[in-house]
Amino acid sequence: MNSLVCIAYVPDTETRIKIAADGKSIDETDVKWIVSPYDEYALEEALRIKEAKGGGTVTVLTVGPERAKTGLRECLARGADDAIWVDATGTPYLDALGTARALAAAAKGGSYDFLWFGQKGVGYDESLVGPMFAELMDLPHVANVIKLEVKEGKITAHREIEGAHEVVECSLPAVLTAQKGLNEPRYASLKGIMAAKKKPIAEKKLAELVVPEADPANARTRWRKLELPPARVACKMVPGDDPAAAGKELARLLREEAKVI
């Protein structure tokens, strides 16, 4: 069984965000980049399926500038077999549909049973690309997967919804988006890191794929402005030495001043 894992290479979740001079993107100096955490669950599950079935391949795919190749190498070090890089140098912004379209174009010609995504790419936090990709590929999808059973030609997936799980039966091939809880991702071993250097990364150019959204004039969603969130008011401190008085005062403030209880 073959898996394709589509990853996003994003600013580290611990990174402080600074606004760039253009006022609508982030200042990338000093930003540390990581494979989006949800994509790690996706990759891990693809590797486990391969190991459990004793065969098949795991291919990782991303669209982005040169640095995105580092993300692909990290995935190869963890055990993926090969990778595809869609070189988007010169295209600083691609909306969700454009991203899905570029990934779909790059995935064409491959033969995959599982097409994995993280449930969202941290940063843009849209949760759009996976299901959009499924629509463009005319495949079924199950989003927010936290548990998966693989049977012959089909799967049973548990998907997280508010306060419950939906248990979904789905034919293969299918697009799946991984949610935290699905598994515990492994770290790359030293041997894996060495082996990754020899694994192939195929390169495609975004400009050579048919992705109209790569032209800003065709963007289906655009960022007009980027701001830091408005500053919050200064914290009103309640003395904590007398717990009973502190508890009462907190309740009073929430009721009379903030009017939220």
């Binding site: 609508k24 949760s127 548990h158 979904v168 655009r222 701001e227 969130p229």
Partner: protein, 322 residues
């Protein structure tokens, strides 16, 4: 501007987040909006939508729609779109809405303004503010020149405004073709507890490493119950296995915007702040006066949370009993 709003129901109950989206559509459109309501036995629910701004409700009431399926529910939205030809579609950014919106958008060759916290109309364009980098920044976004504009609205942010005396909506049944899905929900399993989920709670009480161990959850739970809140948690305690990840608030957990967020023993790592800094009122109880959580809290107490939380819970109960 003509709005169509996707209405979500579960077990015959309309979701509040959908009423919020519907009220917003009425406000932005300056009059009644159209709505689409898929499900089984839902026709009787359609009338209630008038109060919240529905002029027409397209109802897809079928046995096969008893449980959610991407194909069936997106199909219903699609059928309503054909009849209504809207300029804009609003969908609550719930688990279901996040599943429907991208498939529907891609089918129409557009994208979506996802999880918006503010929405306005400029000429014939929707313009939104949405949190990015998990609330560490916010972006003003629009749909470019796209003909169909789609936005998903974050639950708990926009008011659901019912107006008494609103006229009853016109209810129009939808004919759907084959809705047999390739991905079929066969059953829904409730989580071990029938708790309110943090993503749709009005009040959240969260515990972090400061509670010292899972054996101390009852102390936090007591406050949670006094406030009728949902229980949240920091990544540290989820990763330590003290509680299930569905409670996790933060950049790799749920991103929430409740009216009141009470952080108990949470220092406020940037990871966590990213998930809850858009809360309206934040209370922090922590023994460390230097904890970053106090930088974003409205009210703070430095002290022993094992003594303060029970007293706070008691005072909340007393205040509510007044």
């Amino acid at each position: 501007m003509k709005f169509l709003v996707f209405i979500e129901q579960r077990d015959g109950k309309i979701r509040k987040a959908s009423l919020e989206a519907l009220s917003l559509a009425r406000k932005l459109g300056g009059g009644p909006a159209a709505a689409v309501l898929p499900g089984r036995g839902v026709t009787s629910l359609a009338r209630d939508l008038g109060k919240y701004g529905a002029g027409t409700v397209y109802v897809a009431d079928r046995e096969e729609l008893a449980l959610y399926s991407t194909k069936g529910y997106v199909g219903a939205l699609e059928a309503a779109t054909k009849k209504e030809s809207p300029d804009a579609v609003l969908i609550a950014a719930t688990a279901m809405g996040k599943d429907v919106a991208p498939r529907y958008a891609a089918r129409h060759d557009v994208s979506a303004l996802a999880d918006v916290m503010e929405l306005r109309v400029e000429g014939d364009r929707l313009v939104a503010w949405r949190p990015v980098y998990s609330g560490k920044a916010r972006a003003e976004v629009d749909c470019g020149a796209a003909k169909l504009q789609i936005a998903t609205t974050r639950p708990n942010v926009f008011p659901a405004e019912g107006e008494d005396g609103a006229t009853e909506p016109r209810v129009e049944p939808l004919e759907l073709g084959d809705v047999a899905p390739r991905a079929k929900v066969v059953r829904v399993e409730a989580s071990e507890s029938k708790e309110i989920d943090v993503s749709e709670a009005d009040i959240i009480v969260s515990g972090g490493r400061g509670i010292k161990g899972p054996e101390n959850w009852p102390i936090v739970r007591d406050l949670q119950q006094a406030l009728h809140a949902a229980l949240g948690a920091s990544r540290a305690v989820v990763d330590a296995g003290w509680i299930d990840h569905q409670h996790q608030v933060g950049q790799t957990g749920k991103v929430v915007s409740p009216t009141l967020y009470v952080a108990c023993g949470i220092s406020g790592a940037i990871q966590h702040l990213a998930g809850m800094s858009t809360s309206k009122v934040i209370v922090a109880i922590n023994k460390d006066a230097e904890a970053p959580i106090f930088k974003i809290a409205n009210y703070g107490v430095v002290g022993d949370l094992f003594k303060i939380i029970p007293e706070f819970a008691k005072a909340v109960r007393a205040a509510k009993a007044e």
